[in-house]
Amino acid sequence: MTDFPDIKAFQSSVRQYIKQNLPDELRKLVIQEKMDIPRDLQRQWHRILQKKGWGCPSWPMEYGGPGWNDMQHFVFEREIALGDAPRSMVYGVGMLAPTIMKYGSEAQKQEILPRIQNADHFWCQGFSEPGAGSDLASLKTRAELDGNEYVINGSKMWTSEGHIADRMFGLFRTDSSGKKQYGITFLTLNMDAPGVEVHTIETYDGAGREINQVFFRDVRIPVTNRVGEEHQGWSIAKYLLSLERFGTAEVSRSMRTLQKIKNLARRNKLNDFDFDARLTRAEISLRAVELTEYRMLFGEEPAGAEASLLKLKGTEIQNEILELFHDAVGNYALIDARDDTSVDNLPENLPEAGYIAQAHFNFRKTEIYAGSSEVQKNIIAKAVLGI
């Protein structure tokens, strides 16, 4: 493998810092795979990282980021996962900010970026709609120009963290006359604007508040909230979505889950050859994805659409490993972690039973969101194999 000088030193400084500064309360929530981590805890952690200049790891130095190379960024994200620290604030830091850097006006940069960097504003994403999921371009929520304002009507679906967000960026229909990719405009808005209503969508796993449907009724926002040209939001969205390509494989998180299974199996002294065989297979498969991710990030030539396979296989193996974890915990994994009495009654030596089922059910979403497995296969077929 390529040598990156001093990368080991960098890695251990990150590991050390996380270990010493991650609040216990937060670490516990992450270990328990909680989806609804409170806003103030998220902010606290972001600011702890920001003290080192690490709050926005992907940002270039000119915007106050650490200016890391890909390898440093990669190592940082791995240490975050292995250290049971929360995922970084993906919507503001990871998605909107680079988009604003590329497509935003000077005023927008001044306005938006510092507030993300300081975790003053939490962002959410308004892309999908009830009738537009995988087929995003068929979105219908309208933004109509009225003087210096857009008037928004309709609703957005699957909005993660919509209930704790201050701002939303999203795609809105400003013209329906042409082909469906045309007439989409990229806008930002205040979540407390009159006419915005956030309804939680409960998921079958009972993960708590995580995703929402956001309704708009005559919501008025200034034209200056538009990013890029009117009707031309589709290409901005494509850029923004391409930022998700790496990391969605969740390799680091899966590595951490594997550690947990082995730790549990040692305590439980499982002696089930069938289970062992499944676990070994999963471990080897994860290794294949891990090495492929590495190869596509740092290898001979940069990966393009091929990177879709990381999301495809990464989430598949992620769920396989969570299933193994669920099975390793045994029958106490069947309890409903939303019920406090049930959690209190659990045998002391089996804390995993308090969260594994929920995680196991909840993470099935990863094969669905951000381009479902089927969409990833379509992308590979078309963009890589040319069929």
Binding site: S128, G131, G133, S134, D135, S138, M157, W158, I201, E202, T203, Y204, D205, G206, D272, D274, F275, N319, E323, H326, D327, G330, N331, Y332, A333, L334, I335, D336, A337, D339, T341, S342, N345, A357, Q358, F361, R364, K365, E367, I368, Y369, S372, S373, E374, K377
Partner: protein, 374 residues
């Protein structure tokens, strides 16, 4: 898709049992009611239980002299199958197991009154035979004689609906021999640690500290093989339930695919998705065959006092197959629904949770594979 038996050849009467069960459950137990009950105190509705009693379902396997209908295990399985299809949650199965334990080994003598009250829905009974993940693993709970008094000490794990039951049938060990007891759940020294399960059903760990047991409550000595038989019969019933759950997922997913449009056409027109729903359909068919075979094996077990290892293997093969196939079908069902499949308002995820529970209870697929090949 209508469930048709083909290994089971049903009488007209049995077909009627099946159809009327489906009609009643569909009517009385729509998904909205299930959702409401999930977070209720007991997890099921006393009115429904009364209805089950009125229909004769609780006493379906009991002789008429004990207030039952004198029906076969297959009859009972047809009702339970429809409970799987409609995702009805209740202590039905554990009640049947408890009654079977009570009558099969003692013919209910001395507990006729309890029996009748259970069958009429006025008293709740459950049965806890396992203490570990391995079904039928020898009991550690001890029955001890001390100054002419019998005392019970130990713990039974995850006894279904034990928190909601008046009586609990358990096995305990005394001088190397196993005994079957019926214990009043409210006796001094009985401590319940209740749990709500993620499928909304209820269960509890039961700790016994020096619980006084009257002679009358010791039903009799029981061999490990006979405990295993009770579990096998219960497992076969579960297979019928689970294979019906699978059909429900197939139906709902197929229906969803036919109506949901993407890129301007119904999902059902996309060949890659067609082949996947076909895989789901095929698993449902195979699982149904296994379930029917398991219930026939269990009926043989009921009818013969001799233990037949072949019957045991038939049931283990079914449990292992349906355990895996059920989880596969559940996952595919959600995936083919997309984001909608993740929502609590859609039944699909709840069927998946039930099928995941199924795979774990009474020994998971891996355990039953080992038993099958052993």
């Amino acid at each position: 898709m209508k469930i048709q038996s083909r290994i089971l050849i049903l009488s007209e009467e049995q077909k009627m049992i099946r159809e009327s069960a489906l009609r009643l459950l569909d009517e009385e137990f729509p998904f909205s009611v299930r959702q409401k009950l999930s977070k209720s105190e007991t997890g099921f509705d006393a009115e429904h239980w009364k209805l089950f009693a009125e229909m004769g379902w609780l006493g379906i396997n009991l002789p008429e002299t004990l207030g039952g209908l004198g029906g076969s295990l297959v009859d009972a399985s047809l009702i339970y199958q429809q409970m799987g299809r409609t995702l009805v949650r209740s202590p039905y199965l554990t009640t049947l197991t408890g009654l079977k334990a009570l009558t099969h080994f003692t013919n209910g003598s001395g507990h006729t009154d309890t029996l009748k009250q259970v069958v009429s829905g006025n008293r709740m009974l459950t049965c806890g035979l396992s203490e570990t993940e391995n079904p039928g693993h020898p009991a550690q709970t001890r029955l001890e004689e001390n100054k002419d008094q019998w005392r019970l000490n130990g713990c039974k794990r995850l006894v279904p609906w034990a928190g909601q039951s008046d009586d609990i049938i358990i096995s305990a060990i005394q001088k190397g021999e196993h005994y079957l007891l019926i214990v009043n759940a409210n006796s001094p020294g009985v401590r319940k640690l209740p749990y709500r399960m993620y499928d909304g059903s209820r269960t509890a760990d039961i700790e016994f500290s020096n619980v006084e047991i009257t002679e009358n409550c010791i039903l009799g000595a029981i061999s490990k093989a006979d405990i295993q038989k009770l579990l096998d019969i219960e497992t076969a019933m579960m297979c019928m339930e689970a294979s019906a759950c699978m059909w429900a997922i197939q139906d709902q997913t197929l229906e969803f695919m036919k109506t949901r449009e993407q890129f301007g056409q119904p999902l059902s027109t996309l060949q890659a998705l067609q082949h996947r729903i076909v895989d789901v359909y095929v698993k449902c068919q195979l699982a149904q065959s296994m379930a029917e075979d398991a219930i026939l094996a269990a009926e043989s077990i009921c009818n013969n006092s001799d233990s037949d290892f072949r019957n045991t293997k038939r049931i283990s093969a079914a449990k292992a197959f349906i355990g895996e196939a059920g989880r596969f079908v559940g996952k595919e069902g959600i995936q083919l629904h997309g984001g909608i499949g993740m929502t609590d308002d859609m039944p699909i995820g709840h069927y998946f949770k039930r099928l995941t529970t199924f795979d774990r209870l009474n020994g998971d697929a891996s355990w039953h594979r080992r038993r099958f090949s052993g």
